[in-house]
């Protein structure tokens, strides 16, 4: 073996050199493409966001000046329409994230548990059925959703069977929380909430909840992504294996406790992945808005991604659009780090609270 190795090395540096060359040639298309279309664009956009380029000719032309953080301050602290739009988009997207991520995580976990543990037959069929929506394009699904949730559409028809008068979903700007408050008697904004502002819109508007239109989008997001995450959870569950469940069951832990104290902690890595991907995806929602409502009704489906696009491509305000994109980038990174911190692997195991779970934990450790 050693002799052979030596002989393969005796052409010596030649092979090493060829390997260097080969390595770089092999990798260069990907490096060039990624550099050109992922790395360089970020730099260009950074420049545009701190320049006063008006959209004509090259942004590197001589007459394009440096304006520092003017675009950013206009968006974050200016108080004018730019700030209002940005605040509105953040509010909308925040509710979208707050509803979609937990719901889709829970639903996909639920589906995964149902499909992988509880049944023997038809697994493939159910997995396919739940995963299919993830395969279709966002355009096709949005068009379908516009139909299902139209004034006289399927969803309202079904609601009418339960004597509920469904709203004109995609045209209804009322916030869910506001509707609820109205139902319990709070008709209009309390003074404190109405007068104080953050990012250009009043606190009362911040607590409006997602609008009916946004709620329809939330449902759509859950519908299309739960399948993908279900697969991740299935893989995670399979890696846990049935012996642990058996062990827990032998110690008379019932199904719910088993799940909470044994299965869930072992699914932590998968949970982490699902939530991270969910966060990254939901903060970028764009396609559906572009196809469906273009930010309406009453700007309640406006998202930072769409705002950035609209400002740049439709209003010609490229600096502002680029600035919004970078702020969005920062937000996504922030949430990912926070999430990582919250779900981090702790070195010390928390002391179980009840005797039963203690027994289970002991069993698991063995």
């Amino acid at each position: 073996m050693v002799a052979r190795a030596k002989s393969s090395r005796s052409p010596g540096p030649g092979i090493k050199g060829r390997q260097q060359l080969a390595g770089w040639i092999f990798i260069s298309p990907v490096v060039v493409l990624l550099g050109l279309f992922l790395f360089v664009p970020v730099l260009m956009a950074a420049w545009v966001s701190v320049s006063d380029w008006t959209g004509r000719g090259s942004p590197f032309a001589a007459d394009v000046g440096y304006v520092g953080t003017e675009n950013y301050s206009q968006i974050l602290t200016g108080g004018g329409l730019a700030t209002q739009d940005f605040g509105t988009s953040i509010r909308n997207n925040l509710y979208y994230v707050l509803f979609v991520v937990p719901l889709q995580t829970a639903l996909s976990l639920f589906l995964a548990v149902l499909v992988s543990r509880r049944i023997m037959r038809g697994r493939g069929f159910f997995r396919t059925a739940f995963y299919f929506p993830s395969v279709t394009s966002s355009v096709a699904i949005t068009v379908l959703w516009l139909f299902l949730f139209s004034q006289s559409g399927v969803v309202n028809k079904i609601l009418s069977w339960f004597t509920i008068d469904g709203p004109n979903w995609f045209a209804d700007p009322r916030g869910v929380i506001h509707v609820f408050l109205r139902a319990v008697g709070v008709e209009s904004a309390p003074q404190a909430l109405a007068t104080n502002e953050f990012l250009g819109i009043s606190w009362w508007q911040w607590v409006s909840g997602p609008s009916m239109a946004m709620s329809a989008f939330i449902l759509m997001a859950i519908f299309t992504t739960s399948g993908t995450f279900m697969l991740l959870f299935i893989a995670g569950l399979q890696s846990i294996g049935p012996e642990i469940e058996e062990a827990a069951m032998m110690d008379r832990a019932n199904a719910w406790r088993r799940f909470i104290h044994v299965t869930l902690p072992m699914l932590k890595p998968t949970l982490f992945t699902v939530i991270t991907l969910g966060l990254i995806g939901t903060w970028q929602v764009f396609d559906q808005i572009y196809v469906g409502t273009q930010g309406g009704p009453a700007k309640t489906t406006l998202t930072p991604a769409y705002l950035s696009f609209n400002e740049a491509f439709n209003q010609g305000d490229w600096g502002e659009g680029a600035a919004i994109a970078f702020i969005l980038f920062a937000i996504i990174v922030f949430f990912t780090i926070v999430q990582r911190f919250v779900l981090r692997e702790r070195d010390t195991v928390k002391k179980p609270r009840t005797k039963r779970s203690q027994a289970v934990a002991v069993e698991v450790e063995r």
Binding site: R4, R18, Q19, G23, F26, I27, P29, V30, V31, L33, L34, L36, F37, L38, P41, V42, M44, P59, L114, V115, R118, I119, M120, G122, F126, F130, Y131, F132, P133, V135, T136, S137, V139, A140, T142, L144, F147, L148, S152, V154, K157, F223, T228, L231, A235, P242, M249, A255, T273, I280, F286, D287, Y290, G292, S308, A312, F326, L328, F329, I332
Partner: protein
């Protein structure tokens, strides 16, 4: 393992094996919720507009008609859109497979200086959210002069960090002895790659093909920023225009849903044929 107390009721034991019928019922209901929208979509595309408005849930049209499809092809450039989607998808898929397997092999099996750095960069790039790149990509495409052309539609999509990852992992799982043998027999790096290792990587290549197909067929925001010529519109962009009322003002649901159905068919076919692989890979690829 502790001995099972004799007092364990037999009920507990049976929980491991058979599933109660309630679970099946729940699953069937949920599956129905997931499948119904698509069935409704198909059936509505064969209804007349008034019927779609009056009876949206009905799965069997009273007056079965292909009027919506006829209008779709007569009054819009749907065929052109389909052709453009096909062209772009074909080139992107082939291109990605080629570039990504080259890169993956290099990262896995060719020791060269800077390999670690490149790999780190590939991972870092995967972290950049795609929507943040919308404006900048347009600027770069402009500067390169490939705006409003097939090149502008295809080339940027060839950059696929995730694919590199998948191929690298797969190549690492191929035993080194195979390559050593080839080297001893005098094959150069490229020949080793092309004639010996790549054929062994058929499953991974298949995976890349499927993912690339799905990804480029369903791509929207890249085409929005890369083109404006109506002759370069793809299915996604075209149907998006239809949805926002291009054809004529007014809600023409059968037509729009028919358009959506047709554009989903190729992806659906690929999905059903390669189901198992897709679902395994999605779990694996995304997990990484």
């Amino acid at each position: 393992m502790s001995t099972t107390p004799a007092t364990t009721p037999p009920k507990q034991r049976s929980r491991l094996g058979a599933a109660p019928w309630t679970t099946y019922l729940l699953l069937v209901l949920l599956a129905l919720v997931y499948i119904m929208p698509f069935l409704i979509q198909i059936s509505t595309s064969f209804k007349t507009e008034p019927e779609a408005a009056v009876n949206p849930i009905g799965l069997f049209p009273q007056n079965w008609t292909t009027a919506a499809y006829e209008r779709l092809f007569r009054f819009s450039d749907y065929a052109t859109w389909g052709m453009n989607s096909a062209i772009v998808t074909a080139f992107v898929t082939v291109g990605r497979v080629f570039f990504v397997s080259l890169a993956g092999y290099a990262l896995a099996r060719i020791p060269f200086r800077g390999r670690g750095v490149v790999f780190a960069l590939v991972i870092a790039v995967m972290a950049v959210p795609s929507v943040v790149l919308l404006i900048p990509k347009f600027l770069v495409i402009n500067q390169l002069g490939i705006y409003d052309s097939y090149a502008g539609m295809i080339v940027p999509l060839l950059a696929d960090a995730a694919g590199v990852f998948i191929m690298k992992n797969f190549f690492e799982s191929i035993p080194v002895s195979v390559e050593e043998q080839a080297r001893i027999d005098g094959a150069g790096v490229f020949r080793t790659f092309w004639s010996i290792v790549l054929p062994m990587a058929a499953p991974a290549v298949m995976t890349i093909v499927i993912l690339s197909f799905q990804g480029s067929w369903n791509e929207l925001n890249h085409f929005i920023v890369a083109t404006q010529d109506p002759q370069l519109t793809t299915l996604t962009k075209g149907v998006a225009q239809l949805a926002s009322g291009q054809l004529s003002q007014g809600t023409q649901y059968p037509l729009k849903l028919g358009a959506a159905v047709l554009m989903t068919i190729p992806v659906a076919i690929v999905f059903f044929v390669f189901q198992r692989r897709i679902m395994n890979v999605s779990a694996g690829a995304v997990k990484e």
